[in-house]
Symmetry: C2
């Protein structure tokens, strides 16, 4: 397992040069604090923490958590690292200043989360889950609830979870069975079992605040009958500290393919004392805030897997000697050339790099809307940002996590047989990355959210806004404009324009197909999502190329960094982007090819 | 983990109806024995063994082997199953009748190996590795060596391994350091360390016959200086039994991502007594026999992963209830519809099925050449078959194993979060499948073998023969021919014709590109391999469709089975085959997009 070097330079390039976040921070509460100097200082400190405290305990963390009669112990070093983390104030970075936070824009937190995850996926999920609880309490909590719980979550002395899934239902929350019955004191008694609760039980914090979906006795059936509750592991004592033990117990933790460092708990609620969060029967709406936060975080996990796996594979490829380069000996003193000289190894490394850097750019782009959504200065700004973020999240989450698995897979492949051996750590990254296409809504669910809610029900509004932005960007590279004198940029601009046009057409086709056969939307959904992802990523690579080209022409910036960016962009346009066309073609296939076979034929013959 | 039901019906369809193996068996020694009745009996018995003895100990086998001071213990039940296996005579199925085997065609063994692997990958590798040793001894062993070792391997009381890899070299065998020095008695003393030796140490057999590549003292450098040796764990005693312990010890076994049931050994040779196999310095050539055998076996592992994962996912999808079908309620009595009703779940299941059945067809097609290569009745027949098999193996091995991982990945995805939990067994299939693109030559190595040796050095001869066969097949569906009246078949025939033409053109382009820039071949190689694989698979699906269509028209066969075949074929042509075009487009990209970036830029920024 290689050391981790956090991509501070790339993040600053994205924040300062590509996305011009400074101009956007103007509309965000607390944005004025986030000057370029401040950004650099924060990213550098977060990089140090990730590289020095978390990365060294990533591979050992694969040994996993242990469960003993409801008590969960995290891997060696996790608790100490968490103590340092909260001591340095990292949990409060984007939290409300009134409750002890630093009130910085969310986008900065998103960037730091990527570093934490890359350094140590399983560890980073503990504070990551708290953020979901924070977001939910921020929007739906009463003042007293904020005082009681939010301040503790912001300081990090307590952590949070989100409890949705039950053994018989994950996505289909309408089937939920967990019940909440009113107590005389205004609280509720919750009974039921929740599974797959990440960070659901552990030894890092003195208390755990569970945010739980459950049904009230008189609730309407289906998802409209879900209410949200706060269920602390320890009830809040008079003085605000963790008091009496509540009726929630960890029955077991799962044995999983990966992310062994994070405890995935089964939680049994046995007359657990619960406090209603927000309005009754409005739990699912209150969860949407959380979901947008969680999904952008999960999307960046795809980039994280790609980054860590790239760093490992690239180091190995420059050291491992095998065969001679077909175009001439590169290492005459050695018995063979480094495998990085072989074209197919480069192909895999560049693919990983495209995914890491392109995915990071996509997440950063979308996080500007997260900033405005959470802390925009007017309701109009917040509402518009909500819609823009809502369009981006299923694409980000579905697409980048799928590509993250692909990237981690290439990392194993670059190592040859050694990639399959645990000692090298590459297969751990692959196993860890595999969760990301499953939790927080599978890729299929993201695709249905995109085509159903975000394109068709939205009547193409957001699709038109996004593609309109692509057209606007591309126009600056028209042949008679200054920037258009650069041939490579003109070509990239023309490519993204064509993709944006095609994206719109495909959206309209979805709508027409839906009228004839509702199943056509489902059959096309994942291909539409992947096409959207490649187009989104192409837009990012074109923007990065544009900035790199301009900076090189002006003699600004780090020339090697910028040149590498242009080479990687070229690889993306030439050798990855043809996939977009394939997805467009596939989704154009007839629906019968998916639906005509009778269900009974799916039995193994 | 679901029960396993072996695809006997599909195998008989392929052997009897699609490939007409009976007519091909005529040219194979021992082929006359393999009547359709015999085939059905053998496949049915092998299915029973796989389903009843091996499948039940697959998941428990994931707990792995244990090593204690050089002694390896296999998982519970493995030894007992192996004893039953050899008692029933399975190891001798295709072995020479003179040495106690049954002398049946190799293709039958290949089919049975798929069942064994699907039922229990880790277990199946033990007899699988013996087959490599058998093949090598058959072609290169002296009569005495055959008597001493081959008979024991055929009866299965001893097992075999192939020892190639060393810590610093896998593919690049020229860097090998293991040395063999002559003893006075005509034997050799071997010293060195071999790693990644599958089935290298275990408790299933009383002796293990290692086939080892090593260098003689006066050997030329590089791969031309490698010789092959037999190094038994126990030397053969006077009476032919396992006698004195030889100087080979298992230093450790690897901790791997998967295939935990199979011991991957580090073997230390310390003056191990060795016997030259074949001619000095001709070891690598002698290994090619083994490689063709091993690679076709590994290819079928891709189909095996797809089959087992499909069976699990399909059962789950028909039972798990979540959400309502968008095209109307399918399960009005239940709280939700089975997820198999959702188009995207079907898309994943059909993709798995396309890979399992299409991969099996590809392997069966190629195994006709394995039959003729190994036991063809004339040298001309054997030589021609060698060339045809040699062209097929890199495509089979590279392509089907990559798709096997994809299929296993879909299987995890169909289960949602449960797919990530070990208890369900789906993630084990994915972890196990991941080895197949690495061992026996990575996908990248297969691709170089294909483009370098099998297309360019072959001057397109085999490519022309293969594509010529496609043209011949497609012609029977010309509009004015009887079979061409079927519109779907005419379309499929036209599609494979276009692909075959494109395949030839791409081959010629590779040759032209190679003259300008040798790196262009390496940059295009994996895309060329994948294009070749999809075209090969399309040819198989078109053939299967043709037979299914004809049988349905004639009222023959199992109508449900044949209908399912046509639906699956339609899915392949509509929704999987667009990938071929994408690979063609990608390999047409300029070489600079892969090679232009300076090596130093690959350092993480």
């Amino acid at each position: 397992m290689p050391n981790y070097k956090a991509p501070v330079k790339d993040l600053l390039f994205l924040f300062n040069d590509v996305m011009d976040m400074q101009s956007k921070f103007k509309d965000v509460e607390g944005g004025a604090e986030a000057t370029p100097d401040m950004l650099e200082a924060i990213f550098t400190e977060a990089a140090k923490f990730s590289e020095n405290e978390l990365a060294p305990i990533y591979q050992s963390g694969d040994e996993g958590c242990t469960w003993d009669d409801g008590v969960v112990t995290t891997p060696k070093g996790f608790k100490e690292a968490y103590a340092k983390f909260i001591e340095a104030g990292w949990t409060g970075l984007t939290g409300s200043t009134e409750l002890g936070g630093q009130g910085l824009p969310s986008s900065i937190g998103v960037a730091i989360n990527e570093m934490l995850t890359t350094a140590n996926w399983g560890w980073a999920m503990y504070p990551g889950l708290s953020e979901g609880a924070v977001a939910t309490l921020e929007t739906s909590g009463s003042d007293q609830q904020k005082q009681d719980y939010l301040s503790k979550l912001i300081s990090g002395v307590w952590s949070g979870t989100m409890c949705l899934t039950e053994p018989h239902c994950g996505t289909d929350l309408g089937q939920m069975k967990t019940k909440a019955t009113p107590n005389e004191d205004g609280s509720y008694a919750v009974n039921g079992t929740k599974i797959f609760i990440s960070a659901g039980e552990h030894d890092l914090t003195e208390n755990i605040v569970h945010i739980v979906l459950a049904k009230l006795p008189d609730a309407p059936s289906g998802t409209k009958g879900l209410s949200l509750f706060i269920i602390p592991k320890f009830l809040v004592a008079e003085d605000g500290s963790a008091g009496e033990r509540n009726g929630v117990r960890c029955g077991s933790i799962e044995h999983k393919m990966g992310i062994h460092g994070n405890a995935t708990a089964e939680l049994n609620f046995d007359n657990a004392k619960a406090f209603l969060l927000g309005e009754p029967n409005n739990g699912l709406n209150a969860m949407f805030t959380y979901m947008n936060v969680a999904r952008i975080g999960t999307a960046s996990q795809g980039a994280a897997a790609a980054e860590r796996s790239y760093q490992g594979a690239s180091e190995y490829a420059r050291e491992r000697l095998a065969m001679r380069s077909i175009s001439g000996v590169k290492n005459p003193e050695g018995p063979a050339d480094a495998i990085v000289e072989h074209p197919d190894v480069r192909r895999m490394l560049l693919t990983q790099r495209v995914i890491a850097e392109g995915g990071r750019a996509m997440v950063t782009y979308a996080s500007q809307f997260a900033d405005l959504y959470r802390a925009g200065k007017t309701p109009e700004v917040r509402e518009a940002a909500d819609a823009r973020l809502g369009f981006c999240t299923p694409i980000l989450k579905g697409f980048i996590t799928e590509l993250g698995v692909e990237a981690a897979n290439h990392g194993v492949q670059v190592f040859g047989g050694h990639g399959y051996i645990q000692e090298w750590g590459m297969e751990q990254i692959l196993r860890d990355s595999r969760i990301a296409t499953l939790y927080e809504g599978t890729t299929g669910i993201q695709a249905l959210d995109l085509v159903g809610r975000k394109v068709l029900m939205d009547k193409f509004k957001q699709l038109n806004i996004f593609t309109g932005e692509i057209f606007k960007f591309a126009k600056q590279y028209l042949p008679w404009k200054a920037a258009g004198k650069n041939k490579a940029m003109r070509k990239q601009a023309w490519t993204v324009t064509k993709l944006a046009i095609k994206w719109r057409i495909m959206g309209y086709r979805l709508a027409m197909g839906a009228k004839r056969n509702p199943d056509s939307v489902g059959a096309a959904s994942v291909d539409f999502l992947m096409f959207s992802g490649y187009t989104f990523m192409a837009f990012m690579w074109a923007q990065m190329s544009g900035v790199a080209t301009a900076q090189l022409a002006a003699g600004e910036g780090d020339a090697e960094f910028l040149q590498a960016k242009l080479h990687t962009a070229e690889f993306f346009f030439q050798r990855i982007l043809p996939r977009a066309e394939m997805h467009a073609k596939t989704m154009g296939a007839n629906t019968e090819s998916v639906m005509a076979m009778p269900t009974s034929y799916f039995d193994a013959s």
